[in-house]
């Protein structure tokens, strides 16, 4: 796509994006809800998104599916008051909806499989009902304008005339970073165009490409994105990504995974876990002279007074009783 068309496309999406941003008041409500209260808290939402990330990774879904699912989830949560116990159903139905739109048929897994692997407790009919509700409330038909849309467009712009730059500015890396950001609720408030641009600029600064940076300024002016806004989100992105890249491992609180094994393996595990012998330990004689293999002949009377309850090592026994060779 040539530069002119790209810019037009960007403009068109920019004008549309407002429809796809979650309601701000709704998001604020979630952020202010306490952890174990009656509503959904930010932590709940983040945990659910983590789960969806895991599932979409496992099933090999594209970034598009994941980003769309998160978008649907955020919009729905901002709109409707959802009880925490229904959150996992909402999350999974968003993922299923997104997958149905974005994934080729061959890659699609059935609702049953999603529920089984995701270790959810509701049924497939629950899932499809929830999907209908979500689709209805959000007037969802085919797709949405998400940060990913912008990211792809920006990437094409940045590559511009030199497609060899693909090696330097990797789209996969950018997508991974976007996914990392989306796991944090605070980014749901950002406008997709701004978030994507902030992300791109962060990466371009990292690879230190001056002319690509200029290109982004060009885009910024074209879409009339305010400097302050861009900087605000830029800082947040930087912080989030430094956490993501840190070697420190983190195991967030998640519900314990269910390990289902077959009956035979379960039996096997049970029987092998008990093997304490019932014979008492025989301590090795501290100065047992018959250590080496050739000294198996009868020993002198010196060691006869020893009983089997020897405890320490050599010094326990009086010198004159030690065997002399």
């Amino acid at each position: 796509m040539d530069a002119f068309k790209l810019m037009k496309e960007l403009r068109a999406n920019y004008e549309q994006e407002g429809y796809y941003i979650p309601k701000e008041t709704g998001l604020n409500l979630i952020e202010s809800t306490e952890q174990n209260g009656s509503g959904i808290s930010a932590k709940c939402r983040d945990a659910q998104v983590e789960d969806l990330w895991g599932l979409s990774s496992f099933f090999g879904y594209s970034t598009q599916t994941f980003v769309l699912a998160v978008n649907l989830l955020d919009r729905f949560l901002a709109l409707m008051r959802v009880q925490p116990k229904h959150l996992s159903c909402v999350g999974l139905s968003c993922l299923h909806l997104a997958a149905q739109r974005s994934e080729p048929d061959a890659m699609l897994s059935s609702g049953h499989e999603l529920i089984r692997i995701g270790q959810r407790r509701f049924t497939a009919s629950d899932l499809s009902r929830m999907e209908k509700i979500v689709a209805e409330k959000l007037h969802f038909t085919s797709s949405a304008v998400t940060p990913l849309t912008f990211l792809h467009l920006y990437h094409q712009v940045a590559l511009g005339q030199s497609p060899s730059r693909k090696e330097v500015l990797s789209l996969e890396k950018l997508e991974a970073q976007l996914k990392a950001c989306l796991r944090c609720m605070s980014f749901s408030k950002a406008k997709p165009s701004v978030l994507a641009l902030a992300l791109l600029r962060h990466e371009i600064k990292a690879i230190q490409s001056e002319d690509m940076l200029e290109m982004t300024c060009h885009v910024q002016r074209h879409l009339k994105i305010a400097d302050g806004e861009l900087q605000y989100w830029g800082e947040r992105v930087a912080r989030c990504l430094s956490d993501y890249a840190s070697p420190r491992c983190s195991r967030p609180n998640h519900r314990k995974l269910l390990w289902v094994v077959s009956r035979r393996t379960a039996q096997n595990l049970q029987s092998s876990s008990c093997c304490a012998p019932d014979l008492p330990t025989i301590p090795e004689g501290g100065w047992d002279p018959s250590q080496s293999e050739d000294s198996s002949e009868d020993l002198s009377s010196g060691e006869e007074s020893l009983s089997s309850s020897l405890e320490g090592e050599g010094g326990y026994f009086p010198l004159h009783l030690r065997r002399r060779r």
Partner: protein
């Protein structure tokens, strides 16, 4: 009478149970019993408790001597009265030795050991069932058990008597005694082996002078078992005794013991009947590692060397043992073997046998192993990733897929950056492979299209075709050709020209 129908006779595959039912148990004559030509009856002696203490010693000796008479239990009807007398006498002797003090005077030792030797030391009869499979078949029990059991009991009480003096006893309980005792471990009767186990354990504990000899003989038995006969019924019991011995080793471990571990215990894992004694074997190995953690690396490398290739049951056992070892491993030792170990685990995880895969995946349910993996995630994840990702798509068993999800999720959360990198590179690799496959397919299709339609041209042009194919990689010189630069296209074009140049060979190159 034959229980097999005529049709089954013709069939040739008669069921094992039918054959067994047919076989009549033949009484095994033993030379032990043949010397008694005439029926000898035992005359009942007075009870020990009824006799004044001065005469008890004498009576005790007499009873011991009386019990040296052996009876044939194969024949269930002869000598019933005498058998009963002997049984009652043995019972009494057991009581006498257990409850009274001052019984074990020096003169009693030879009598006691002589009675014991006469009764228990015998050549074990060959097995009734030559194809005896310890896991499936019922063992042949010892016929004389009513007497022999009491003799074993007596020996045990004798050893455990508070007045027992190893210094006197060692004249009679010597190497020959121990050797004969060890041979009895091959008995098919598990009750007998159980007694022998306890008895040998006590002997090892009390007779320091015999310890090295016992260890050496056990060594020999095991080596014969592993490398020569592949048959010995008492491996599990001997290993149990060894477990309590290893537990008591003094530190630093002697070289002899380390040798034993590497030369005997590790190779023992290759035995066919591993299932019978694996629990005890694993316990011994783990005990060694708890005593000396530096042995971890050679032990694990040894197990990996002998890893079963075709027996899945064994593989499951090995995995269980590895988990037990990992439960006690030190983090520094873990670092040394993590690479070869996880390479093997990643192969197990992808194994089509569901039990093997399940057992390997279940490692991730172990907290301590998880903490070890977390510390070394940078080395472990790249090794495991490929097979986990692959089987999540390809394995036939849905339970396995669910477990793989658990494992991947756990790994994902340990280091998401690395996980994402690996996912991306895995996908890139797969795409490259797919592209290669496609190219190959296209090449074959092109070759297919190269149908030589004109039979006239077949002979002359096959020559050219031959050259074309041989020169596939070279630059093709095409004079009149504007179409693609593929050498095949060129050949095709040449082949379709009807006017074959008259001069010289048609080889173009």
């Amino acid at each position: 009478m034959s229980a097999i129908s005529a049709s089954e006779k013709v069939d040739g595959f008669t069921r094992k149970s039918m054959r067994k039912a047919q076989k009549q148990r033949k009484s095994q004559g033993s030379s032990q019993f043949r010397t008694q030509s005439a029926l000898v009856e035992l005359s009942p002696l007075p009870q020990l408790k009824d006799v004044p203490s001065t005469e008890q010693q004498e009576l005790f000796t007499q009873k011991l001597q009386q019990c040296c008479m052996l009876f044939d239990f194969m024949d269930s009807v002869i000598d019933l009265k005498s058998k009963e007398i002997k049984r009652a006498t043995l019972n009494e002797l057991v009581e006498y030795v257990s409850t009274n003090r001052g019984v074990l005077v020096e003169s009693a030792y030879p009598e006691i050991t002589s009675m014991i030797c006469t009764n228990i030391f015998r050549t074990l009869p060959p097995s009734d069932n030559p194809d005896f499979d310890p896991e499936e078949d019922e063992p042949t029990l010892e016929a004389s058990w009513p007497h022999i059991q009491l003799v074993y009991e007596f020996l045990l009480r004798f050893l455990e008597n508070p007045d027992f003096q190893p210094s006197i006893a060692k004249r009679y309980i010597d190497q020959k005694f121990v050797l004969q005792l060890l041979e009895l471990f091959d008995s098919e009767d598990p009750r007998e082996r159980d007694f022998l186990k306890t008895i040998l354990h006590r002997i090892y504990g009390k007779f320091l002078g015999l310890r090295a000899f016992i260890r050496k003989q056990i060594n020999n038995i095991f080596l014969r078992f592993i490398y020569e006969t592949d048959h010995f019924n008492g491996v599990a019991e001997l290993l149990e005794i060894l477990g309590s011995i290893i537990n008591g080793f003094a530190l630093p471990l002697k070289a002899e013991h380390k040798q034993f571990l590497m030369k005997v215990l590790i190779p023992m894992h290759t035995a066919k009947g591993l299932a019978l004694f694996h629990a005890q074997l694993a316990y011994c190995v783990v005990q060694f590692l708890e005593k000396d953690p530096t042995l971890t690396e050679p032990v694990i490398r040894g197990l990996l060397k002998f890893w079963p290739k075709t027996c899945s049951q064994k593989e499951v056992m090995y995995l269980g043992e590895i988990e037990e070892i990992l439960d006690v491993i030190e983090p520094t030792q873990f670092k040394k073997i993590e690479e070869p170990l996880f390479k093997q685990i990643s192969r197990c995880v992808a194994n089509p046998h569901f039990q093997v895969a399940e057992r390997a995946l279940y490692f991730w349910n172990n907290e301590y192993i998880l903490s070890l993996i977390e510390e070394n995630i940078d080395q472990v994840l790249p090794i495991m990733f490929g097979s986990l990702y692959r089987i999540s798509k390809e394995h036939w068993n849905p339970t396995i897929i669910a477990l793989v999800y658990n494992v991947l999720k756990t790994l994902m959360e340990m280091n998401s950056t690395l996980f994402d990198e690996l996912t991306a590179s895995y996908k890139a690799d797969r795409q490259r492979e797919k592209k290669k496959e496609q190219e190959r397919e296209e090449l074959w299709e092109k070759l297919d299209e190269l149908q030589i339609s004109h039979s006239g041209l077949a002979h002359s042009n096959s020559h050219m075709l031959h050259n074309t194919n041989a020169n596939n990689n070279n630059v093709v010189v095409n004079n009149n050709n504007n179409r693609g630069s593929s050498p095949l296209d060129a050949a095709q074009n040449e082949a379709m020209e009807v006017d074959v140049p008259a001069e010289g060979p048609l080889g173009v190159y």
